[in-house]
């Protein structure tokens, strides 16, 4: 398991909480398409290569 020692300046606070009622809302079609787009897939693949994630 990869363990990274973080300094205070590296820490990223938790994202804002989202109530279940809001979380359950169905995403807009265009947002889903954006998350599934080849542009995102390419960016993720590039990041994984850069960070050495299999």
């Amino acid at each position: 398991m990869l363990v990274i020692m973080l300094s205070d300046e590296d820490r990223i606070p938790d994202p804002p909480d989202m109530p279940e009622q809001v979380k359950k809302k169905k995403l807009d079609r265009e947002v889903v398409d954006e998350l599934k787009s080849s542009k995102i897939k390419e960016a993720i693949a590039k990041l994984k290569r850069e960070l050495g994630i299999p």
Binding site: I12, P15, K23, K25, L35, K36, I40, L47, K48, L51
Partner: protein
């Protein structure tokens, strides 16, 4: 029309992290905006019910004895609707503000990571950012949508 605010990530030069971050941010905004739309719809229905009640009170067929208590009940309901609308809208506004702050924060971390010279430190910092974006994605999306956070 909602006012367009400048994107704080615009100043970050092209980076795969921002490419992944932006749709996650838009997904969070989209959910909250749908929440606001739902509140407006509920408030609209409640106001319609109140208007119908007032019209019913004013109809001459209804007895005078019933009028005062019905009007009082309608006013109480109206006050409650107004309070509920205010509270829930404020909560949503605060949450939208927090989302923008969080997005801004991650953007600044991405920008900072770009100028790190030590390759290992740079890798560690960017790995932390990527995990943070994944966490945000998972905390935002519903169970059926979590497959979209596969990174």
């Amino acid at each position: 029309m909602p006012q367009q605010t400048p994107d704080p990530c615009e100043s970050v030069k092209d980076d795969s992290l921002t490419t992944v971050l932006k749709p996650v941010y838009r997904a969070a905004l989209s959910k909250w905006k749908l929440g606001i739309r739902e509140i407006r719809f509920e408030i609209g229905i409640a106001l319609l019910a109140i208007i119908i009640s007032i019209v019913a009170i004013l109809l001459p067929q209804i007895g005078i004895e019933g009028k005062t208590s019905t009007l009082a009940a309608t006013l109480v309901a109206l006050t409650k609707v107004a309070q509920d609308y205010y509270t829930r809208t404020q909560l949503h506004k605060e949450s939208l503000g927090k989302i923008n702050i969080h997005y801004d924060f991650i953007c600044s971390r991405i920008k900072a990571s770009q100028s790190v010279q030590d390759p290992q430190k740079k890798k560690d910092k960017r790995l932390v950012i990527m995990r943070s974006i994944k966490t945000w994605c998972e905390k935002t999306l519903d169970d059926q949508e979590k497959y979209l956070c596969d990174f």
